[in-house]
Amino acid sequence: MAQSELTSADPAARSPSGRTTIDPDEVRKFSAIADEWWDPFGKFKPLHKFNPIRLAYIRDGACAHFGRDRRATAPLEGLSLLDIGCGGGLVAEPMRRLGAAVTAIDASERNIKTAMAHAEPLGLDIDYRATTVENLVEENAGPFDIVLNLEVVEHVADVDVFLETSANLIKPGGMTVMATINRTLKALALAKIGAEYVLRWLPAGTHDPRKFVKPEEAKSALTRAGLSVTAEAGVSYNPLMDIWRISDDTDVNYMLTALKG
């Protein structure tokens, strides 16, 4: 009598507004990729594992800086946020749910379409754009209360130029959170060889270790961009417990919080 479908395409349940500008063929194609991005056991498993840690770090940092109650239903309500290098939207979506008005960019058109395909049935209004920080500055976009640079600087050509350009997109009084991988032997062993070749968490070749950035370099680049670094935290993995947590150990993964005066 009763029946269920695990995957259903009931159009009535798709979009609360009922309106969409997306071509259904495109949606199908990118939904499949989105499923990959959002599969907690799939290709992006490590990202899902430590996502809650960095989301909590960003939430707590933003609540402290902007004087918000982090227990509120939507603690970031009324704040504008830019997520640079948003990928499939793993950070953009939660930030939208926490109340922020989110703009999320990625240089890859494919990533943006994937992220849009995932957010659409969830009814999350996120301004996804396939563009770069340089273009945003040119277009006079923003500025934003919060700018996120998560796992991006290790992939850019020039860290200094990138961070300076990004800093232009922060409102005076705003904040930025940056997360990346340190350039240490330990990071090379764990984040590059361990994650890519041993555990096969990431596709081989994901990271070029020469592009890993030391915290001192990142801090001085942020300072040169006119920001003041206020917090630094390590993100450590415990392989026995299979959990990530915030720590003082910045040897591998670390995050920095900086404010614009």
Partner: protein, 415 residues
């Protein structure tokens, strides 16, 4: 015509698991709907469910923290001691000798002034839950309401009721019991072990006080438990070979009383059956997964264990407390509570725990429902060892109290 209501979570099943889940989740700020096909008045009526539940002290903390305990405490009998005995029923072939090896678990050995657990009639639990749900704005009860169809869409789950109402939510929780229809509809398979045993459940009144002692006799036909209840009553859980069970069920009160006394021994004085008997075939069902996109299984829908160790509802309570933590943590960082990214944490936390208990209980039953001489001898030695070593006893008591391992915040010890 369309009557659509939105919730964070829709819970299918308004029994002890579903009702408690609604209240625990509402306390964390989730808006919940609880759907049950039956009329609450019917579920609260005495003939509906004459069983009792053992509530471990870790489970009792959940009721206390949700403000439910005060309503239950006057009708909860504390278990101060547990006696486990290997025995034989008195019959034409046996004088009912009880092995000299037995285990005595004394709550005072844990050094905390609390009982090992409580025995509570299910109707008391149901009353406390329904009363609390009526007073809780965060839980809306849809009962009696038949579920017509459930869809798990990418963005939300949709539960259509037979009366045309539609409930939308980010997550659906299946709390619809051992034969969970929702679990089957979602295509989640189960592993099932059937025992050739039937549990006969009855309440008896007796002359002498039980002094808070719970007794478990391991008889060849299966375990026979006497659990202390309020007002000089005890609850019997009598496991019998399925072939023999109907005959015992059909006995008149006098004959039934004699059978009970043959197993009880004389320690409670003359006993009188108080209320009807129920019988349940014993089976052990374990869902192959506890989660699917926008669906989580709790309680008997996830795992229905043999009642031998009194852990059935306690496992469900731990599911609820763990799921509440996982969902609240996910929501607090902005994650989608219906997505596997969040739900897999619940699966990781609970499935191994309940699977190992289920298998342990199964083993215990196989070990004890046996009259094979060498096996009897071996288990008597084992029981004797546990009986003499205090840390081992404390371990078993904490295990039975569900007070070991990573505890969800609703169950955590004070401080």
């Amino acid at each position: 015509m369309s009557d659509i209501q939105n919730f964070d979570i829709v819970i299918i099943g308004g029994g002890p698991a579903g009702g408690l889940a609604g209240l625990a989740l509402a306390a964390q700020g989730f808006s919940c709907a609880v759907v049950d096909a039956m009329d609450p008045a019917e579920m609260r009526a005495a003939p509906f469910d004459g069983r009792t539940s053992a509530i471990s002290y870790a489970s009792a903390r959940v009721f206390k923290r949700l403000g439910l305990w005060d309503a239950m405490a006057p009708e909860a009998e504390a278990i101060r001691d547990i006696l486990v005995t290997d025995g034989r029923a008195k019959s034409r072939f046996s004088d009912g000798t009880v092995s000299r090896f037995f285990l005595h678990f004394d709550s005072r050995e844990l050094g905390e002034d609390q009982p090992l657990g409580w025995i509570i009639e299910n109707r008391v639990i149901r009353d406390a839950l329904f009363d609390a749900i009526a007073a809780e704005d965060g839980v809306t009860l849809f009962a009696p309401a038949r579920r017509a169809a459930t869809k798990f869409n990418p963005g939300e789950a949709v539960v259509d009721l037979a009366d045309g109402r539609r409930l939308c939510a980010k997550l659906v929780i299946a709390a619809d019991g051992r034969h969970s229809a929702l679990r089957a509809e979602a295509g989640i398979k189960t592993n099932e072990w059937r025992y050739n045993q039937t549990g006969i459940v009855a309440t008896v009144a007796h002359e002498r006080p039980h002094e808070g002692f719970a007794q478990e006799f391991f008889l060849p036909s299966g375990p026979f438990a006497i659990l202390p209840m309020t007002n000089n009553r005890s609850s019997l859980v009598w496991t019998e070979r399925t072939a023999a069970a109907p005959a015992y069920m059909a006995l008149n009160d006098k004959a039934f009383r004699i059978e009970i006394e043959n197993r009880f021994g004389p320690y409670l004085g003359p006993v009188t059956p108080a209320g009807p008997r129920w019988s349940y075939p014993l089976a052990f069902t374990l869902a192959q997964t506890y989660v699917a996109p926008r669906l989580a299984l709790i309680g008997d829908a996830a795992h229905a264990v043999h009642p031998i160790a009194g852990q059935g509802y306690n496992l469900g309570i731990k599911d609820i407390a763990a799921l509440t933590d996982v969902l609240a943590e996910g929501r607090d960082v902005g994650l989608d509570i219906g997505a596997l990214t969040v739900l897999q944490n619940y699966q990781r936390w609970r499935r191994f725990d309940s699977a190992s208990l289920a298998l342990g209980t199964d083993l215990l039953n196989r070990l004890f429902s046996n009259d094979f001489g060498p096996l009897r001898f071996a288990r008597d030695i084992g029981m004797g060892a546990v009986g003499r070593v205090k840390p081992l006893r404390a371990f078993f008591m904490r295990q039975a109290g569900a007070d070991l391992g990573a505890l969800p915040s609703l169950m955590a010890r004070e401080g």
